[in-house]
């Protein structure tokens, strides 16, 4: 097993990395100004000329790019290359409004693949592994992205896609899958399905690593997954606009390494747009330094996170973003207070009686927001005394109130009654007409 995919780059001193970033940024600005009418106009409107960007520090002079820009220019209005330079499209289904189309040149695919090969190596996945990819293949970037990255490391790939769960569990045993990649929701679904088929991941499979992403999941959920399946669970991060899944945590599990020679990361105060000090929480902004088809300048990806440039114990010098608390898009405002589904999840997963599935339901009754959290009854929690159940609901409600600072009604529902997902799970029903 190799320790680093590209030790020279992954362990490069920070000063050198930043120098490379500065150079690439200056070139990028010239490139988009020349090739993208969209960016030319955006820069002209902001009174920025490519010559104004002389070093890395000048990045803050550049205007932001928003998801809305990609929608407004649907399908390919922001592309910097003509069709004969493209080798692939992916299309993300927008939860609101139009989908976004992402195009890739040959080099874009290669850079994406390299990013994931480095990431997989950092969690000890490689040549000796068999990786089952349970992300959807197709327009969604998850399946194909992981596929290329895993193959690059020499890993044997089983392109299972999502669904057909019983078959997946069978193949996992027959072929000796050691690594699974899918959404955390789908893995929970698999655990349940395996259990009812009498299969224990721990005892009946060679599974040792899970790479989970495409939706936020909490540290507490990680503990549960690791314990119940007997694996190490790693977070993978990325979004289709940036290519797809790109980065994972390393084996230290203390943040996700963002390859600084490919991407420039900033964390800003979402209200002022100003950078926050190193180590403070803010909104993630990413500039793609090497993309050709659809480069993005200061893209407001919307995740709330913390940036950490301290050298990691794994020896990599590239900065880490701390576990993403949630995407700004997922944030609920209940009675004026910000609530992330991820916060609810981490409170719930700390309570042993509570199962893995939950649903947040928000209503507005008589001008007042009412937040309800449904959790499933478990064998462990079930008592045939009514008071024990009411006390459990109260215990969970008070734990939630302690963290969220708002009153929450907790409702126990029957096991199996909340929706299961083979992709990204829906965890919020907002009935308010806002």
């Amino acid at each position: 097993m190799i320790e680093y995919w590209n030790p020279q780059i992954e362990r490069m001193p920070v000063e050198e990395l930043k120098e490379i970033q500065g150079e690439k940024l200056c070139n990028l600005v010239k490139y988009v100004y020349e090739h993208s009418p969209f960016y030319r106009k955006r820069f002209d409107d902001a009174g920025i000329r490519p010559e104004d960007i002389k070093s890395l520090d000048d990045v803050t002079k550049l205007p932001f790019t928003y998801k809305k820009d990609l929608r407004d220019t649907y399908p390919t209005g922001m592309f910097c290359v003509p069709n004969n330079k493209l080798v692939r499209f992916h299309v993300s289904s927008g939860t609101t409004g139009k989908p976004t189309v992402v195009g890739y040149t040959d080099n874009d695919i290669k850079a994406w693949t390299t990013s994931l090969a480095r990431a997989m190596t950092s969690i000890g996945v490689g040549r000796d592994d068999i990786m089952q990819i349970g992300y959807g293949y197709g327009l969604f970037t998850g399946g194909l992205g992981m596929h290329y990255g895993a193959e690059e490391t020499g890993c044997t790939v089983l392109p299972a896609s999502s669904g057909n769960t019983d078959r997946q569990i069978e193949l996992m045993q027959d072929l000796g899958t050691t690594v699974i990649g899918c959404t955390p929701s789908y893995f929970l679904f698999m655990i349940e399905a395996a259990k009812s088929a009498g299969v224990s991941f721990q005892d009946d499979t060679d599974l040792r690593v899970g790479v989970f992403g495409a939706e936020p999941w909490s540290e507490e959920m990680r503990k549960r997954i690791e314990e119940s399946a007997g694996i190490k669970a790693y977070d993978i991060f990325g979004t289709s606009e940036l290519s797809g899944p790109l980065f994972t945590e390393c084996r230290e599990q203390k943040g996700i390494h963002i390859w600084a020679d490919q991407f420039l990361v900033e964390v800003i105060d979402p209200d002022t747009g100003e950078p926050v000090p190193n180590g403070e929480r803010g909104e993630l902004v990413i500039t793609t330094l090497v993309k050709e088809a659809l480069p993005l300048i200061r893209y407001r990806i919307g995740d709330i996170t913390v940036l950490n440039w301290d050298e990691c114990e794994c020896g990599r010098t590239h900065p880490r973003i701390m576990r993403v608390l949630g995407r700004a898009d997922d944030m609920l405002i209940v009675r004026g207070i910000n609530v992330f589904p991820g916060q609810v999840e981490s409170v719930l997963m700390k309570i042993p009686e509570v199962g893995e599935h939950f649903m947040i339901i928000v209503d507005r009754i008589n001008e007042l927001d009412i937040m309800k959290v449904q959790i499933e009854m478990t064998d462990v929690a079930f008592s045939d005394k009514v008071n024990d159940i009411i006390n459990l609901e109260k215990k969970v409600a008070s734990a939630l109130k302690g963290v969220l600072n708002i009153a929450v009604k907790v409702e126990l529902v029957e096991h199996g009654s909340l929706p299961r997902s083979m992709g990204k799970a829906k965890k919020v029903i907002d009935n308010r007409k806002l």
């Binding site: 079930f382 045939d384 409702e411 029957e414």
Partner: protein, 141 residues
């Protein structure tokens, strides 16, 4: 002592019917049941002739279900005897968690009681000459 089956159910129509369907398929007979309701959920408690099979059938159908040991007493006069039992147990600091009565087709009245100390309760009631039902009695009700 009797084994009682309890299951967690949301208060929505059809839950009880679904349980009784499952039992019919498995040849299980319900001798007594009661529902303890609390807002959005309820606990269905049942005395059946084959509790272990009933537990398995319900568990396999995805219900959250448990088996609890309870006391069963045949009674002539329900309110009077319930008071007497409570008194006898209370003297020994044994608390009643819940109790429910039911009448059989042969018009005999039975009382089901869950207490916080079942071994203690059995002894106290034996000493008071109150006859308790066991599973073979349940099968013959």
């Amino acid at each position: 002592m009797i084994k009682q089956i309890s299951l967690f159910a949301e208060n929505k129509p059809g839950r009880l019917a679904s349980v009784s369907d499952k039992f019919k398929g498995a040849g299980i007979n319900i001798r007594a049941f009661t529902i303890a309701e609390a807002g959005d959920f309820g606990i269905i408690r049942m005395v059946v002739d084959d509790p272990d099979l009933a537990h398995k059938v319900l568990h396999d159908s995805g219900f959250t279900v448990s088996e609890t040991n309870v006391l069963g007493v045949e009674m002539e006069d329900v309110p009077g005897q319930l008071g007497m039992i409570a008194e006898v147990l209370g003297e020994k600091d044994i608390n009643i968690d819940y109790a429910y009565a039911f009448v059989t087709r042969t018009e005999k009245a039975f009382l089901i009681v869950r207490v916080n100390d079942i071994r203690g309760a059995v002894k106290v009631l034996d000493d008071a000459k109150i006859k308790l039902l066991d599973m073979s009695d349940v099968q013959n009700i």
